[in-house]
């Protein structure tokens, strides 16, 4: 186990290094770094001073090690627009995004697992077919348009829910959250639902496929032969066995939900890190974009690492030595 963890850890660090090289080349290599990193409104003297201070007159490999050294110290540059360190800016927006993503994941699980079981137990029945057709719709609706239509229906036509922002927040252990106020929950409902729908569809498909397969396994036949009731077979044996892949996929989806929240946050003006990324792209606030990419990479790599380790620990059939296929 230790050897496996170590091997995965080295891989993760290599991925991070690779991304840092790509990002560095993208910012410093392809474009004109002076144009990207020095705000256009400064005077010529300030400009020269900034070029010297940022080390842009040094050879490129020296610049890369400077960039890497600063990144390791948690310094990924200052935002042009806000004038504060880019990393701080993103970390301040992190709770809003995580709140949205966690609620969306819970929604997807609460709706997806029962519907998936239902569809998987009787795959040829009419309701099951309707559920499976619904999942195709869930995958097919583009996130941004679906969000707009949710606003149109629930906010413009029905007037039930607000269209934008986070609403009232309360501070819990130093973190602002909308989960604990009625107004905040109202603001959360539509964005979380919008983010959850494709994941619900994914969850339904995974659980349905797993259930259909599990029902043909020997242990189910044995449980039947023992005279166990269907409810107990499904609840105790089938569900347990299909939850391993479901948990794994849910873990891996966490990263992609953070990425997709970029779209949802833009539609619902949700003040998370995704909205910050889009705003920074519009404002040509490159340090924030670079910092977002590096932090997002760190997040994905960390999540993948944890999921792999958990998977290896949960499922005894996963080989712990050598290459993972």
């Amino acid at each position: 186990m230790t050897a496996y963890i170590l091997q995965r850890l080295i891989q993760s660090v290599l991925v991070l290094l690779a991304v840092s090289v790509v990002v560095f080349l993208a910012v410093y290599g392809i474009g004109d770094p002076i144009e990207l990193l020095v705000p256009p409104q400064v005077s010529a003297a300030e400009r020269t001073a900034m070029i010297r201070r940022l080390g842009l007159d040094l050879p490129i490999w020296q610049q890369y090690f400077g960039f890497l050294g600063n990144a390791l110290k948690g310094d990924l540059g200052r935002s042009f627009v806000h004038g504060v360190p880019a990393v701080d800016l993103i970390l301040a927006r992190l709770p809003a995004t995580f709140e949205l993503v966690l609620l969306a994941m819970s929604l997807a699980a609460v709706v997806g697992i029962p519907l998936g079981l239902l569809a998987g137990l009787n795959p040829e029945s009419r309701p099951s077919r309707a559920i499976m057709a619904g999942t195709i719709l869930g995958f097919s609706l583009p996130s941004f348009w679906k969000g707009m239509m949710l606003i149109l229906l629930f906010s413009v036509f029905l007037g039930w829910l607000p269209t934008a922002g986070r609403g009232e927040t309360v501070s819990v252990l130093g973190l602002e959250t909308s989960l604990l106020t009625l107004n905040g929950l109202k603001h959360l409902t539509l964005p979380a639902l919008n983010l959850a729908i494709p994941n619900m569809a994914l969850m339904i498909r995974l659980v349905a496929a797993g259930t259909t397969e599990a029902m043909t396994q020997d242990y189910v036949k044995y449980a039947r032969a023992k005279g166990l009731r269907s409810k107990r077979i499904v609840g105790r044996h089938v569900l347990r066995n299909i939850l391993i892949p479901v948990v794994t996929v849910a873990g891996m989806e966490f990263g992609s939900l953070v990425a997709f929240s970029t779209i949802t946050e833009t539609v619902f003006a949700w003040p998370g890190m995704g909205k910050l990324l889009i705003d920074s792209i519009y404002n040509l606030d490159r340090p924030v974009v670079v910092a977002y990419v590096m932090l997002a990479t760190l997040l994905f790599v960390a999540v993948n690492f944890l999921v792999d380790i958990l998977y290896a620990a949960l499922d005894p059939r996963v080989k712990l030595t050598g290459e993972m296929a």
Partner: protein
């Protein structure tokens, strides 16, 4: 419905009928899939014929009348033209804009899929054929690419190179080739163990000939099946990027950009500017997904 149950679960199980006939029969036998195919054909036809059937040329700003801006669906314009789906902020007929937008969306979706297929299939084939360090190097890059959500890679790339149809296509190719490479490698590895390849090797046929004349045609099937669903993915990705403002240019709006243009008028209840292009987009993506899903199941191919 009863005839369906008598049919083999996957194609290929019934040896007497040719494979293509079996697939076509299975696709036609499902009413949903048949409907999706007809819909897809209609949408393709509409996109192809847009310049001939659209009531207006939405790119020709001279023919637009700003007086007709944001009219409700079914309104009559200054020149007597009826706007069946309403008009946008520039007084552009939404129906015409959607027909032309469909063209842009399909152009980007199809071109980028073909590009990604070419690169991915080549990379997968090379990895499977040569193995060893070449394989390891290619697959590390593939794992690396697939480790990140495609929307994020494309978004950041376009943020640094700017918007444009060609640039969007490049971005989509960059994020989609890796899945084809992985599928192609897996299929080609299975195929390489078969006897006819061994025979070809023993005959002393050149490696390039074995790869292109034997390995490629026999293992590309599953990749092509998956590519149908991937076209839908490419179209969605383009629409999303255009909505976020880093996609196609405003002079050649795709369905995604049309929806984005309608966003600001949504709250005042002028729903048609955003809603109708969205419906066209969803119909296109749904029909591609339904057909692709049925193909995938019929050939028993696992998704990417």
């Amino acid at each position: 419905m009863n005839s369906l149950k008598a049919m083999p679960a996957t194609v290929g199980a019934d040896a007497d009928t040719p494979l293509r006939r079996q697939v076509l029969r299975r696709i036609r036998s499902r009413p949903t899939t048949r409907g999706a195919m007809i819909l897809l054909a209609i949408l393709l036809l509409l996109a192809l014929l847009a310049p001939f059937i659209a009531p207006q040329n939405p790119h020709d700003l001279g023919s637009l009348s700003v007086m007709d801006n944001r009219l409700e669906p079914g309104s009559q314009g200054m020149t007597g033209i009826t706007y069946w789906l309403g008009t946008d902020a520039q007084g552009r007929d939404m129906l015409s804009a959607i027909l032309y937008g469909l063209r842009t969306s399909l152009l980007v979706g199809l071109t980028s899929t073909v590009g990604a297929l070419l690169i991915g299939v080549f990379a997968g084939l090379v990895a499977a054929q040569f193995g060893g360090a070449v394989d390891a190097a290619i697959m590390r890059v593939v794992d690396f690419m697939l480790g990140f959500p495609s929307i994020l890679i494309a978004l950041v790339l376009l943020a640094s190179i700017g918007r444009g149809i060609d640039k969007v296509i490049v971005a989509i190719i960059l994020v989609q080739w890796a899945q084809y490479a992985r599928l192609m490698r897996a299929a080609a590895l299975v195929e390489r163990r078969k006897e006819y390849i061994e025979a070809a090797v023993n005959f002393g046929l050149p490696t390039r000939h074995i790869m292109l004349a034997h390995l490629l045609p026999n293992s590309i099937g599953s990749v092509l099946v998956v590519s149908t669903i991937s076209i839908a993915g490419a179209i969605t990705l383009e629409a999303t990027l255009s909505f976020l403002g880093v996609g196609v240019p405003v002079t050649q709006p795709s369905l995604g950009l049309l929806i984005a243009n309608g966003f600001e008028f949504l709250l005042s209840g002028e729903y048609w500017i955003a809603a109708f292009p969205g419906i066209a987009l969803v119909l296109l993506i749904m029909s591609l997904n339904l057909v692709g899903e049925r193909l995938r199941r019929s050939f028993n191919v696992r998704g990417p």
